[in-house]
């Protein structure tokens, strides 16, 4: 049946071990969150500080890309096992996305 699953019975010690492992992982997620906040702050500060556009634009685009990688790999668990197919889907999507943007800003409505 579609909802069948193997029964698991963990001992108290096994359960405590897994729970501690998850708590450690959660601290890692908090670190990711702190980094995302930090990247966002840098991006807004750069714009508020009024540097040259040629400096700001590539940097804030890079910061956005790093932040998205943190979201995908940590918050959305793409770094976990069994996500090969998901990475293939996403990178195909990102490739098409990049091509569309490149086309629209260079050829169409030029």
């Amino acid at each position: 049946m579609a909802h069948d699953t193997h029964d698991i019975h963990r001992s108290r010690a096994e359960f405590e071990f897994i729970k501690r492992k998850r708590a450690t992982e959660m601290r890692g997620q908090l670190t990711s969150f702190a980094m995302m906040i930090f990247l966002t702050l840098i991006a807004f500060t750069l714009v508020a500080a009024d540097f040259s556009n040629y400096l700001i634009v590539p940097i804030i685009l890079l910061l956005a890309a790093v932040q998205v990688v943190l979201q995908l790999y940590n918050f959305m668990h793409m770094s976990n096992k069994g996500h090969g197919m998901m990475a293939f889907f996403m990178f195909s999507g990102i490739f098409v996305a990049f091509t569309i943007v490149l086309t629209m800003v260079t050829i169409v409505w030029w």
């Binding site: 699953t5 001992s11 804030i60 998205v68 943007v101 800003v105």
Partner: protein
């Protein structure tokens, strides 16, 4: 097997979202949807970039004169925090702690509503200035891009609320664990799109 089979933290699988065939199928299908959504948003971003500040001659609105950073900064922080609170919800889901999961999802929904409120205020403010949907090619592209993201926020919030209410008395089981997990993935994806909106539309808009 009974869908409503009861679990304890000791018998709960490590990855409840993919422990069943049903869950696995949902999981693969949902990531395929997210990849397709990436392409959808890319076409809207591309249209916006091509039409930015374009419109009839003598158009009084431009990105650098219109957008204000403090409001966008607040919206960004709220949505980013709501992404973290849904991570907390899934952390408790994996520990089979239903009450804690519902509580964190509740906080996520409240933050999402705050974000939506600020976005409605922002759009309303622009329309009162005269920057309506039909004002220019620029305004149409802007509202379509940011509005589509806002529609995703509305859908994500409705999804969370429906799941929380529908399963309030049921508790966590193999039937609803994948559903909660996918709703949380969708919420993260909404934040991923917003990262590019605040960077490409607002920050790059303000500097002209």
């Amino acid at each position: 097997m009974d869908l409503n089979k009861r679990y304890t933290p000791q018998t709960w699988p490590d990855h409840p979202e993919t422990a069943t065939l049903e869950g696995k199928n949902k999981f693969v299908g949902f990531w395929l949807l997210l990849a397709a959504e990436t392409v959808t948003f890319a076409s809207l971003f591309a249209t916006y970039l091509a039409l930015k500040d374009k419109g009839p001659s003598g158009m009084e609105f431009s990105a650098s004169g219109l957008f204000e950073l403090p409001l966008v900064f607040a919206m960004t922080m709220i949505l980013l925090t709501s992404s973290l609170t849904s991570v907390y919800a899934m952390y408790h889901m994996k520990n089979h702690n239903f009450k804690a999961m519902q509580a964190w999802l509740g906080i996520t929904v409240l933050l999402g509503l705050a974000f939506l409120g600020l976005e409605i205020y922002e759009f309303n403010h622009y329309v009162h200035l005269g920057f309506g949907y039909t004002n220019s090619a620029f305004s149409s592209a802007f509202y379509t891009l940011v509005g589509t993201h806002g529609a995703h926020v509305v859908f994500g919030l409705s999804w969370f609320i429906a799941l929380m209410l529908r399963n309030a008395k049921r508790g966590l089981n193999m039937y609803n664990a994948p559903k909660f997990y996918l709703a949380a993935l969708y919420w993260h994806f909404i934040d991923v799109v917003w990262v590019f909106i605040f960077t490409v539309v607002y920050l790059m808009g303000v500097i002209g």
